[in-house]
């Protein structure tokens, strides 16, 4: 690989990012521009920004590698990403969110919920959940990107992390959400091209769709014994029902990530950046195709990499990647693809990391500036923008520090922790805010608090994947998890915390005085 050529390509890419960040900065005049992009974003930019924020490097490399290990069962996550993450999110939740956000002049997700339920507590509690919950998730993406730059551009990891962080911080701090969304759209376009090439070249390498799948189906006898004991029945078969891998697939990946996406603050705020539901209608088309080309391609190619390695080296993908599933996709790309495509794929992964991180940092900045500082001090409007900018810088610094100080065993579940926490804390309240006029402030607060603490309890004491590395249960109980009998150690916290939070929200709402009719009418103005 020509390192000089690759560095030149990356430099051109960074200059383009710089130009779009500058465009965002030039067009940002007030807090609405900075926080919700002036509510006038083009549907292509909105859909691609939503998709690029949704899909990080870990979705392509991490989950693609998991598909290389366990097979096409992961496509259930692709289906949910498209049907729930795009269709339901845009058509059912997005239109009401946009309209209600406009009615209430809300500029952040916690602010939308707070104004709907007329409660400052919801805004700063929600802001704090985001500000303290998201850094783990951000550090996962940031460190992954740093390692990736280190290996591909042959520069020191510390230097890679520093340069990468400074570039992202610069265009997020200066350009606000406009800068973030403009750069997202460009990055998503690069990602789309890269993944489209990857799909076509993989299927053509392996003799076409049916022949490639058939070859993978016939490899079921090559499943290693340790994976078979977890329920692995082959790369084109679902895992054995009720097995450890089946529970992980169904509860963590499908429910946790598939449903949790509905309440991600950095995604919900995208709905408030367009001026009418027509833009959302158009964005559905773009978003659906984009997500299929991201997760669908990553999971299919990850699984099919087994065929390539079996035909060329007589081994399965996880063996070719020396036992590290995160290396399956990069090893496959380097082994099976022409050199020019390796450059495109490098840029695809860089774009995926930057687009997700920039939105995470923006969400954390607005959480601390708008949701916490403004709410607690009473300072309104543009005067909190400097605090938001400081919040973004703090978020970047914290993500970098976390990447250095936390062991990989704790960083790894960072994404799942944040998705689960957001789903349990925000989703019941968010759904009730949009669809149930009878929901009360007390019900919303009770549900949010119950969901947050139930989720944290499950993470610390029940779900082995997080409880074991955290070590708190071990310290108090003398064992890794509270309940050792199956399936509890592999049941994702969302399975318990989300229904509990819904029940609490509804029960407390029914037990308390209905909200003022005129306030509800104002919230639902223009909503059928």
């Amino acid at each position: 690989m020509d390192i000089l050529l690759l560095n030149i390509i990356v430099l051109v890419y960074i200059l383009a990012i710089g130009y779009l960040g500058y465009r965002g900065w030039r067009e940002t005049r007030d807090s609405a521009d900075y926080m919700v992009a002036g509510r006038t974003i083009h549907p292509y930019v909105m859909a691609m920004s939503y998709g690029a924020t949704f899909i990080s490097t870990s979705a392509i490399v991490g989950f693609g590698g998991t598909a290389g290990l366990f097979g096409m069962g992961l496509l259930w996550l692709t289906f949910l990403n498209i049907f729930v993450g795009i269709f339901i999110a845009f058509v059912v939740f997005g239109k009401r969110t946009r309209r209600m956000g406009h009615n209430l002049s809300a500029m952040t997700f916690p602010e939308l919920l707070a104004r709907r339920f007329d409660s400052r507590f919801i805004q700063y509690f929600g802001g704090l959940v985001i500000f303290f919950g998201m850094p783990m998730y951000a550090s996962v993406v940031l460190i992954g990107a740093g390692r990736f730059i280190e290996t591909t551009l042959a520069i020191n990891f510390d230097l890679a992390l520093m340069i990468f962080s400074i570039i992202i911080a610069a265009y997020v701090v200066l350009g606000g959400l406009k800068g973030v969304m403009y750069t997202d759209a460009m990055q998503a376009t690069i990602m789309f091209v890269g993944m489209a090439f990857l799909l076509v070249m993989t299927y053509s390498h392996l003799g076409g769709v049916v022949q490639a799948h058939r070859a993978l189906t016939e490899m079921a006898n090559l499943v290693p014994a340790n994976l078979a004991s977890m329920g692995h029945l082959g790369w084109t078969a679902m895992p054995a029902s009720g097995s450890a891998w089946w529970w992980t697939l169904v509860s963590t990946l499908v429910l946790g990530v598939g449903i949790g996406v509905l309440a991600m603050p950095q995604l919900v705020v995208r709905f408030m950046t367009v001026k009418s539901s027509r833009e959302l209608n158009r964005a559905v088309l773009i978003g659906g195709v984009f997500i299929l080309m991201m997760t669908g391609v990553a999971f299919v190619v990850g699984a099919l990499s087994n065929v390539y390695f079996a035909q060329h080296d007589g081994i399965i993908a996880i063996a070719a990647a020396s036992g590290n599933s995160d290396s399956i996709i990069p090893v496959y790309i380097n082994a099976a693809m022409p050199e020019w495509f390796v450059y495109i794929f490098m840029l695809t992964l860089l774009a995926a990391a930057m687009s997700t991180l920039s939105s995470q940092f923006h969400a954390q900045g607005t959480a601390i500036g708008r949701d916490v500082y403004e709410t607690l001090t009473g300072v309104r409007g543009g005067r909190s923008i400097p605090i938001t900018r400081i919040g973004i810088v703090i978020a970047v610094v914290v993500a970098v520090i976390l990447g250095y100080v936390l062991p990989p065993s704790i960083i790894a579940p960072g994404t799942a922790i944040f998705f689960g926490l957001c789903a349990a804390a925000f989703l019941p309240m968010y759904a009730c805010a949009l669809f149930w006029r009878r929901a009360t402030k007390a019900g919303a607060i009770a549900g949010m608090v119950a969901g947050t603490f139930a989720s944290l309890f499950m993470l610390v004491f029940v779900h082995q994947k997080e409880a074991a590395p955290l070590g708190i249960a071990k310290m108090i109980l003398g064992r890794d998890v509270l309940i050792t009998s199956m399936p509890w150690p592999v049941v994702d916290p969302i399975v318990v915390a989300l229904p509990l939070a819904f029940v609490v929200t509804v029960a407390v709402s029914l037990a308390t005085k209905p909200p003022a009719e005129e306030h509800v009418e104002m919230c639902f103005e223009g909503i059928d």
């Binding site: 096409m72 496509l75 259930w76 289906f79 009418s276 959302l280 209608n281 088309l285 659906g288």
Partner: protein, 35 residues
């Protein structure tokens, strides 16, 4: 079908494509609605 034997995997493969087509169809039908 499609070189895959497990109906759950065939199903989800097709569901992923069909849900994308649903998004495309919705976007086209509603292209000028709601403005």
């Amino acid at each position: 079908m499609l070189g895959i034997n497990d109906p759950w995997i065939i199903g989800v493969y097709l569901l992923s494509v069909l849900s994308t087509l649903l998004c495309v169809a919705y976007g086209l039908v509603k292209w000028n609605k709601g403005g």
